[in-house]
């Protein structure tokens, strides 16, 4: 990791030398150590380094969001002694993954209104309710929103407290983004905001592609594209394995 850090710092230095910040109107530049996360059979999570430079003092906020999904939130109720799902709300536009990092606590960087407007912080992501089931008041609706964030956080997919962005001499910054094993595949977006005096001066966005590769990816594709053939193959594999087992252990 230290090697990646020093290598990336080196690249940033070259970059700054080649493209002096003052010469361009860009107050902010950033890049990732990798724009591609490969989920292989041995995948145990990934770490991506985000680094960049700013042209002077300010606060840096980094937000990584995963591909949007429709997620249903269900409320449990005791029905005849057992806990069963009762009311539910489906939300659209829920990012599969949400990570945030900042140089200082978010409250010190911008006001609540600004953070809400810019959707900074997990509690400010704008999910849209797609459908409601059962009688749900506005107060309860807020509960469902909170429950969604809480459950996503429990799965390790939402970060509710920002990680730290290291800023060196008001110029170079870097942060590490950890991807868990249960993240979805698709195109992720890393957005870097530069805040000065409570308002965002500039934003920089760059994509990260997360995809399954190798044997696992082939299995997944096969299962979804040719599901009937996949089912037959699964049965043949099982019959063969069962037969093999009885042959191997027949003489033991």
């Amino acid at each position: 990791m230290a090697r990646i850090l020093s290598i990336s710092a080196f690249f940033v230095l070259i970059w700054i030398t080649v493209f002096p910040l003052g010469a361009r109107s860009q107050a902010l530049i950033a890049d990732l150590s990798s724009h591609h996360v490969a989920i292989t059979t041995g995948f145990t999570g990934a770490e991506v380094l985000l680094f960049g430079a700013v042209d002077g003092a300010g606060d840096v906020v980094v937000i990584i969001t995963g591909p949007p999904e429709t997620v249903v939130v269900r409320q449990k109720q005791r029905i005849a002694g057992v806990w069963a799902n009762a009311a539910d709300i489906a939300f659209t536009g829920v990012p599969n993954f949400y990570a945030i990092a900042s140089t200082r606590p978010l409250e010190e960087i911008a006001t609540t209104d600004i953070r809400q407007l810019q959707q900074i912080g997990a509690e400010n992501i704008k999910f849209k309710p797609a459908r409601r089931n059962g009688l749900i008041s506005n107060q309860e609706f807020a509960q469902f929103r909170k429950a969604l964030i809480r459950n996503k956080a429990a799965e390790g997919l939402f970060m509710t407290k920002p990680a730290s962005v290291t800023l060196m001499s008001n110029r170079l910054f870097s942060t590490r983004v950890n991807f868990p094993t249960n993240m979805a595949t698709g195109t992720y977006t890393a957005v870097v905001y530069l805040f000065r005096e409570g308002s965002s001066l500039q934003a920089f966005s760059t994509p990260i592609l997360v995809e399954k590769v190798g044997f696992g990816a082939e299995v997944f594709k096969f299962a979804h594209r040719h599901s009937a053939l996949y089912g037959i193959a699964a049965i043949i594999v099982a019959i063969f394995a069962g037969w093999l087992g009885s042959v191997i252990f027949r003489k033991v």
């Binding site: 995948f43 429709t70 057992v82 249960n182 696992g216 997944f220 099982a238 019959i239 069962g242 009885s246």
Partner: protein
């Protein structure tokens, strides 16, 4: 060492899965059951999504049943005609079961349905089995126990469509095994089990089949019913994880061999008593989960990728 499961979309420790397969395999070899009723809850417990656990377990049971039926077939303990009738019902039942599974999934009640079926069926079977084995153990001590008839005749024997099952020494209505097959088929699709633990007592007590052909015949029809469940789940929900199934069955095949060697050290009623205790323990654990106040009153589930 970790391995990423492509359908379950999670990373698991390979030795944990092999160990679980081995442990459940040992017990299934010891008691002569498929072990699906233990494996499916275990998979859900380690974080495998319930639909994937059910679909994958059906696939694994195909393998363990093939392995088991070969041994019984060599000894001539499979009634293929009876198996065929049970199977016809099993196909109908398991197809209905997969449809029901998908319907409950859209309602958001699949987890509840799986758990309730476990509690009800494990409770009934475990309770009956425990009672029967205790009674046998007590009766074994009293000398001169009476031997009953081969099987009793009741209204069920008056049903039409009578068929002769030579190996089972039965002349009964085909409606009866067909209905049993269908009922177990529904459960096998919803619970991710082979259904042997329901099928075997049903064959003995409801059909009156001789115990020697019961396990072989039950395994024979389980192969096809679970194959049907595997196929239908693969097509309609894409929840069969072949990699997980293969890992489970490697452990399972090895474990079952050791289990069946140890089974000779115990008497039949002792084995049934122990199995009953295990079944009741799983039942109690799931019942507790249903009744206990959850830590979070809300749960989330993915509906669709946008």
């Amino acid at each position: 060492m970790h391995i990423y499961l492509p359908i379950a979309e999670m990373s698991v420790n390979i030795f944990l899965i092999l160990g679980m397969g081995g442990g459940v395999g040992f017990l299934s070899g010891l008691f002569g059951v498929g072990g699906g009723f233990l494996m499916t809850p275990l998979l859900i417990f380690i974080g495998v999504p319930a639909p994937v656990a059910v679909g994958t377990e059906a696939n694994q049971i195909v393998a363990s049943s093939v392995s088991g039926v070969i041994a019984h077939w060599r000894r001539g303990n499979v009634d293929f005609k009876m198996g065929g009738v049970l199977l016809a019902g099993g196909f109908v039942g398991s197809s209905l079961g997969v449809m029901l599974f998908k319907f409950l999934q859209t309602l958001g009640q699949i987890d509840l349905a799986i758990k309730l079926s476990y509690v009800v069926f494990l409770g009934i079977i475990g309770g009956l089995m425990f009672w029967e084995s205790v009674r046998t153990m007590i009766r074994a001590r009293t000398v001169g126990a009476q031997r009953g008839k081969l099987h009793q005749h009741n209204w069920l024997h008056g049903l039409p469509l009578k068929m002769r099952f030579r190996r089972s020494k039965l002349y009964i209505s085909a409606i009866l095994p067909f209905t049993i097959g269908a009922g177990v088929g529904v459960l096998s699709a919803i619970m991710g089990v082979g259904g042997g633990f329901i099928m075997v007592p049903a064959m003995i007590y409801l059909l009156g089949m001789p115990t020697t052909v019961v396990i072989g015949t039950s395994l024979f029809q389980i192969i096809f019913v679970t194959a049907n469940v595997t196929f239908l789940q693969a097509v309609s929900t894409q929840t069969v994880d072949v990699l997980l199934a293969v890992l489970l069955l490697i452990g399972g095949v090895v474990g079952a061999q050791f289990g069946s060697k140890y089974s000779v050290f115990l008497k039949g009623e002792q084995l049934r008593g122990l199995l009953a205790i295990m079944v009741l323990a799983v039942c109690a654990k799931i019942a507790h989960d249903l009744v206990a106040t959850p830590t979070d009153f809300f749960s989330i589930a993915l509906l669709a990728n946008q």
